[in-house]
């Protein structure tokens, strides 16, 4: 079943065409990679899909609903979560509170209940606490529940960011260069983590990545962007041998 259709998206920034005629059809349960050299427009695509930018042209449809002009918070509530290229945690909040924030709209109590600590408040808070701890447990972060997010190691911060995104119960998860700044061993662990959550949470995942081994290892389908245009699309093996892709990444071959 098709989960998301992106049709003919174009994004102009004062004359700079960051993305041009981008199309994407995501099937439920897919794990797709979006690659391309620096400045190719990958993050711009993510920002359009999550409502940070409204595209100059084109539409984004998610689960049958046109979300092109929705605000990020509305988009999150309709079932899309993302992580960021430069980790964006709530640095001065505890690990536990980072997760609790992600459950904010599952809590229905009003301010009145919060002030009086009514049974409804207590019940919802304890439900949230329990679910948050379970989520931390899954990501092996529970022992650090009381650490400030900024005091975690880099790898743990990445894990927490993914855990936090998953806590909003998305159907589609967008990961923006999760392996950025990681060494070979760490990115291998990350690969493992991504394919694990893909199965465990029964998710659709769209992944931006620079590390070729990560993308080639786990993605079912890959899309390559260069200068805002889609230059190739296919399985990892097809992409690996596509001359256009090699050219975009390594430069043109020169005959002597």
């Amino acid at each position: 079943m098709s989960l998301m259709q992106v049709e003919n998206i174009t994004m102009n920034f004062d004359g700079l065409r960051a993305v041009q005629n981008f199309n994407l059809d995501l099937q439920e349960g897919e794990l797709i990679g979006l690659i391309g050299p620096n400045g190719a427009g990958k993050t711009t695509v993510f920002n359009i899909l999550t409502g940070v930018y409204i595209p100059s042209q084109g539409t984004v449809t998610f689960a049958g609903e046109n979300i092109t002009k929705h605000a990020p918070w509305q988009i999150n509530r309709s079932g899309i979560a993302r992580t960021f290229q430069n980790i964006r945690l709530f640095d001065n909040m505890t690990v536990l509170d980072n997760i609790k924030v992600a459950m904010n709209y599952q809590m229905k109590y009003k301010m009145f209940s919060a002030v009086l600590r009514t049974p409804k408040y207590r019940q919802e808070e304890s439900m949230v606490l329990k679910e948050s701890l379970e989520m931390l447990q899954l990501f092996n972060l529970v022992e650090k529940y009381n650490f400030l997010a900024k005091n975690l190691s880099y790898g743990e911060q990445r894990r927490l960011e993914i855990a936090r995104a998953l806590t909003t119960k998305p159907r589609l998860l967008l990961l923006d260069e999760p392996a950025a700044g990681m060494n070979a061993k760490e990115s291998e662990e990350l690969m493992h983590l991504i394919s694990w959550i893909h199965k465990k949470f029964n998710l659709t995942i769209l992944l931006i990545e620079h590390h070729m081994p990560v993308v080639m290892g786990i993605c079912q389908r890959i899309k390559v962007l260069d200068f805002g245009q889609t230059i190739a699309e296919g399985t990892p093996d097809e992409i690996k041998n596509n001359p256009k892709v090699i050219e975009a990444y390594l430069g043109e071959e020169v005959d002597h």
Partner: protein, 325 residues
Amino acid sequence: MKIIKSIAFWTVILALGILVEMLGRFEYINPYVIQVLELIGINIILVSSLNIINGFLGEFAIGHAGFMATGAYLSAICTVKFHMPFALGFLAAGLLSGLIAYLIGVPAFKTFGDYLAVITLGFNMIIVNLLNNLEYVGAARGMVGLPKSTNFIWVFCATILTLIIFRNIIFSNYGRIWTAIRENTLAAEMMGINVVRSKMVAFAIAGCFAGLAGALWGHMLQYINPSSFTYLKSTDMLTMLYLGGVGSLTGSVLGAVLMTGLLEILRDLGVWRMVIGPVILVLIMLTKPLGLFGSRELKIVQPKSDREEVQKYVSHAGRKHNNEL
């Protein structure tokens, strides 16, 4: 057992308040000292409400005296012009100031960046100029003959209640949302948080309590005039806030107590008092940018039940490692 303990605790606190009030009435305590204590209470309400915006929400509002002015004037109109009981004027002051704050939030939070500082300062000036020219409320002469309705026990209860309400809100979903917005607005929005709406709610609450404090203040001095509510008053509040600690209720209390006390002790210095405040502010910014308490809280402020529950869970499940990862 727990309930009995907390009832006993609050009874003792209330008894202390009544004791001070009684000692004041029979003049065992100097009326001047009582008034300073009342002033401290009012300042605690002002600073902690400002802390919601500047500390927890992470915005920068510098016109808090404007809300205090609307509260003081509205309650004074209620009691002086319409002879209503003070309690009614007090509530009306809170409601109106909260409403005004909410309405100011509409233009202020549609934009982004540092516009809030400019808009709140502008609002503060507009209110003062309006009052200066409104003959109905005495223009620049101000209003006189407010009933002496504010007594120690009023301020005492209002302060304690304010702190309890703020503490409960801050440790709830609402407070977490505000802090998340402060820490990273974009990430907060991607967590499904309607940022503009949350900010406006925070702003309305802060304005409401500033209005309540204004009502108490007016009926303590029995005389109000527009020049008491200029941006200098707002600056006083900022000084107390940044002295105590941004993002900490404990800090707000500490800042209000220290600064109010200090200004009273230095009363003999006359105009030089005006220098002391700003100098302190500069020194704090240089040495402790987050204030004496930073964003930490005393342990009694933090909800206890949470800590116990987490501890139980962690000690029970903490050693189970997820090996699938």
